[in-house]
Chain length 212, copies 2
């Protein structure tokens, strides 16, 4: 089945499958049944079978899934086997936390550069020296960077995004809290806005609904 | 319409409506048409009309929505007018960033306590002194805390969650990266796991799909 035919709902669940497959593979588990995986992930076995059959062939009836094939197969659909590279922009607060975590390495995403406008320039984080934003466009072009993670203050978000796009970046992960939309002149650029405050309110809404 | 009848998909969009209504209200905009709001939010006007009619009566045909009513009405469904209170657990890294942001105050959620196991105890963040985790259960019970935001290292996540639940907390916002599920003995507790790494991979997946 071609990538184009993977349902969006399945695609949205793949990062979680990837995480479980990675942990199982790391724990030297070689195969797992849909029932076992369903119990671990707290979903139904039929959902697992449906999702995984829509992305590939990872096992045989009655045998279970081959964990290694699953891990690499899901990683392939996520594009991780092609060497995705990223930069983090804005290293105060959330940016420093994101750049310090093993988040990138654990997922096969290469953190290649760190950029800031201000006093963080010159600091060393995760083995990288924070560079001046002035250098970002050129750096991204020269190194074919795929993703820019934006953690600058809200008011600087549009500018940081524009610089990334001029640098040829195709994916913007925007953690600034300022909602960004991409100019229709750049249909190839994908923006994911993650607003932590909205996530907090989603929990508030659920609590309030349960109160009845 | 009772809260129970609000479609889950609409409910999931309410935090975003809340944010736009708050910003409009703060900018002294008194009314706005569904077309104007749709253009701002980059959704269709019919989606706006459908969502907002399912949660209340915020305007008249041809007049537009009353921004103040919308702001308080959405806040009411999110439970924000009842005084939701929260604690942050684990103040190193992400916890310190989350506790330092205006995220809570901007949304009418009261940040009431900060807890840590370790060297952060005694530090002052956002006007609150970080307390020892040993005191958390009692503090939550005494202050009827609604939400615990978990930012402890992954391996401590289950314990921090248990302490919060014993303290009567009904909402767990889990940012640790360790997936938590609630014991079926506690049906009233809601857990939202936010895994930043999964969000990053979601962007990778979209980029890879676009590559074709």
């Amino acid at each position: 089945m071609s990538k184009k035919e993977i349902p969006a709902s399945t695609l949205a669940r793949l990062p979680r499958y990837y995480r479980y497959a990675r942990d199982l593979f790391g724990a030297d588990v070689f195969r797992i049944s849909s029932t076992e995986l369903a119990a671990m992930m707290d979903v139904t076995a039929s959902q697992i079978r449906q999702d995984l059959s829509s992305i590939g062939q990872f096992g045989l009836q009655g045998y279970g899934y081959n964990v290694k094939d699953l891990f690499y197969g899901v990683g392939d659909i996520l594009g991780l086997n092609k060497g995705i590279s990223a930069v983090v922009v804005g290293l105060e607060g959330l940016g420093e936390v994101v750049a310090s975590q093993t988040m990138f390495a654990l997922r096969g995403v290469m953190l290649r550069g760190l950029f800031d406008y201000d006093c963080m320039i010159g600091r060393e984080i995760s083995g990288l020296t924070v560079m001046n934003m002035m250098r970002m466009e050129e750096f991204c072009l020269e190194n074919s960077i795929d993703i820019a993670v934006l953690c600058v203050p809200k008011e600087l978000a549009p500018e940081a995004c524009s610089i990334a796009i001029r640098g040829g970046v195709r994916g913007i992960w925007n953690l600034t809290g300022e909602e960004l939309r991409i100019d229709r002149n750049f249909p190839d650029v994908t923006v994911h806005n993650l607003n932590l405050g909205d996530c907090l309110l989603g929990l508030c809404a659920d609590l309030n609904m349960k109160k009845g």
